[in-house]
């Protein structure tokens, strides 16, 4: 596979273009890697520094001006604001579901209707998160509806 790297002007958005005949499994996996492993989050775990793959994160939640990162079972505090994560991971699987939560769409098991026009995201680890009514149109757009 030929790889071409081009210089771009300052301020221009970085872009990866995939030119292929068929989107095979390997290519899809590579695109997935690019989208979900764009970054790692550094967290402290009992005075040890740990790197968390973005693809392993289930969701982020802001509570009392602190932002927490939730894995399958573990929870860590991160030194980012929710809007910073939302901006940085805008074109990935992360989706702003409410004022205080960003979910990883790759970790959503299913959506269920909830009271007052809202939806509930049932995560693969069994947790349930609310998707605010105002973010539903964005969710539909993200999923291609």
């Amino acid at each position: 596979m030929k790889i071409t790297i081009q210089d771009i002007a300052p301020g221009e958005e970085e872009e990866i273009i995939v030119r292929c005949r068929d989107l095979d499994e390997a290519l899809l996996r590579m695109i997935h890697e690019l989208k979900t492993r764009r970054g790692k989050f550094t967290v402290t775990d009992n005075d040890k520094i740990r790197q968390i793959d973005a693809g392993d994160i289930f969701y982020f939640e802001a509570v009392d001006n602190k932002v927490f990162l939730y894995l399958d079972r573990d929870v860590y505090e991160v030194r980012y604001k929710l809007y910073e994560i939302e901006t940085e991971y805008a074109n990935t699987d992360f989706f702003r579901a409410s004022k205080s939560v960003i979910i990883n769409l790759a970790k959503v098991k299913q959506f269920a209707p909830d009271f007052g026009g809202r939806f509930e995201a049932q995560m693969m680890n069994g947790e349930r998160l609310m998707i605010s009514r105002q973010y539903v149109p964005a969710l539909k757009k993200r999923l291609g509806m």
Partner: protein, 153 residues
């Protein structure tokens, strides 16, 4: 027009259509029971029903688009029901559809409100379920397209 405004207008129109249908149905039953002696209805009642249905539909705005707690959403649903009762009973009194001193008329009107409210809420809930089914279908497609199995790659 933003997506949220479009959605609100669509919901308003849908509610208006359902409330109008329900009101005509309740009006027909109500007339057969309480005003069966009247051969002709005043044509104004059609405009009155449409106006009442529209004002009832405006009750949708009790449910804000901004984020609220589940408790608040339940409270708003109750408030919405009270609002509809006030509008319909107020219209019934104002337009002379019922004799306020006739307890049976009042009870029948309140029963009619309850039936229409439950039917409209059920239809909206069904649509909401269908919407979530579509979301789930799209989610599966999205996850399959990207080779996501829920397990870390």
């Amino acid at each position: 027009m933003t997506e949220s405004i479009k959605k609100r207008v669509t919901e308003l129109l849908l509610t208006f259509c359902m409330v109008t249908t329900g009101s005509v149905f309740v009006c027909a039953v109500y007339n057969n029971i309480f005003w069966s002696g009247d051969t002709f209805l005043d044509a104004d009642i059609l405009w009155q029903l449409l106006a009442m249905a529209f004002v009832c539909s405006l009750g949708n705005f009790i449910h804000p688009y901004r984020e609220i707690s589940r408790r608040r959403a339940v409270f708003n649903k109750g408030l919405h029901y009270v609002y509809i009762n006030v509008v319909v009973l107020g219209s019934g009194y104002g337009f002379g559809w019922m004799d306020i001193e006739n307890i049976f008329m009042l009870a029948a009107m309140m029963l009619g409100i309850l039936v229409v409210f439950v039917v409209v809420s059920s239809v909206i809930w069904r649509l909401h379920i269908r919407e979530s089914e579509n979301l789930n279908r799209k989610l599966k497609e999205y996850q399959q397209a990207m080779g996501k199995t829920g397990q870390p790659v």
